[in-house]
Symmetry: C2
Subunit: 283 residues, 2 copies
Amino acid sequence: MHSGLEAVRKQGLTVHCTDVPEVRVPRAQVYARPEEIGPVDWVLIALKTTANAALESLLPPLLHRETALVTMQNGLGNEAFLAERFGVERVMGALCFVGVNRLAPGVVRSFGRGTISVGEYQGPPRARTEALAGAFHAARMESHIVDDLLAERWRKELWNVPFNGLAIAGGDVTCDRILADAALMELVLGLMKELLAIAAACGHPIPDSYIDFQLSRTRPLGAYQPSSLLDYRAGRPVEVESIWGEPLREARKVGVKAGRLEALYYLLQWLTAARTARKPDGN
Amino acid sequence: MHSGLEAVRKQGLTVHCTDVPEVRVPRAQVYARPEEIGPVDWVLIALKTTANAALESLLPPLLHRETALVTMQNGLGNEAFLAERFGVERVMGALCFVGVNRLAPGVVRSFGRGTISVGEYQGPPRARTEALAGAFHAARMESHIVDDLLAERWRKELWNVPFNGLAIAGGDVTCDRILADAALMELVLGLMKELLAIAAACGHPIPDSYIDFQLSRTRPLGAYQPSSLLDYRAGRPVEVESIWGEPLREARKVGVKAGRLEALYYLLQWLTAARTARKPDGN
């Protein structure tokens, strides 16, 4: 849990950027336990969704009556998870469209500036939504307010499901190779169409043209390795449930057939479990 | 094409059996080209379906007016392939339920006796069907005559599609490990249900209980490696089109959704092509 804590405490945080000078935060405020922090106005949650169970004990020391919980995590179901345990009123979400890798404890590489979309889990944007977007702006992060946070999550799933999934199931495949292969592209498109059907049945219609948009923004990424592939390779947990399991469960709830998603989900469950069985040092 | 020809010509054919004494055929009649054989009454076709294009030149020298073509090959579409090129009247099929591995040129290992089902491509069994089954019997092979050959092919697909497919897509998995994993078994059952729906829509209804039968006959196989997995590992062509491609195309013709089969088909297309790209010595 505390990987990097000591390094950041001693050396601060360094972010190597591709388009702006290096960013350094010499004295970052870092803590090992939430009890050392106490109640706060905002909690930005960046935990892997595979560790969500830990939030049940991590969050209570941070809460006052008005504390907002902002899940910046991947996939679906994280807002509902928080709402069920800490009250729907507290829950907000943010989607990070960024490419970042941790090079070493306290050292991060950022590929371009990226953007953050923020929104309310329930209901339209309000004062606190503006305040959060404003705080990101003040820190020179491009941010947007979205009216329908869950629709935005489905839009991101449209990319994560096929590209993160096939990168692993295809046997270690980068985005450019997926885009160049006719068979994998048939499967990418088939998965995207299933997701559009599920999202629409869940009340979040996305226009078909969004598929082309997602593909066109993937081409410039070149030999990009989706984050789940990096996790898989490194023996770290892969967010199988939040990225693939949750949309499949939504499909079943609304009665939409999603056979391709189902096949990919079960294969990824098996592949990630089999990998952990092979590598006892995987965490 | 002629692997083993010289060895069989010199040493004959040896079959190691698990339940009966070794079988030896000291002087096997083998030929390099069909022109050396000339017209015959029966042609038993045991070529890999990935080499079907070669049949267009291999078969004509063997044909007289009444020659019967018996495809003993895997998957779907082989009878139609032959009927289109050589006339529907000639075409028969046989399904081999056997476990055999070639240990060396001219040396085969057989796991148990197995059975052969024979039938007509079009119409009910007739005199030649009985004659073929009788010839297998006379050679001490258990054989059956089937009234609906294509229904029998679909029944075999019910096993080949999930077990051959997941053995490769799951990353080199034997049958016992597939049976023991909850996620892979969900996918096995989902694939089997899709195949039942396609077969029924194609006019070959198979009772749901056949799923349990197929699973119960898989358990005793233990750590069995499906033949497609052996082909894949050895860098030989995998029969992707006849085992997975054909049932998918049938599903599309009859308008049955088969998303799991589609996902598996495209993944196998990619995995086998990617493997060939990695191994330029693969044939």
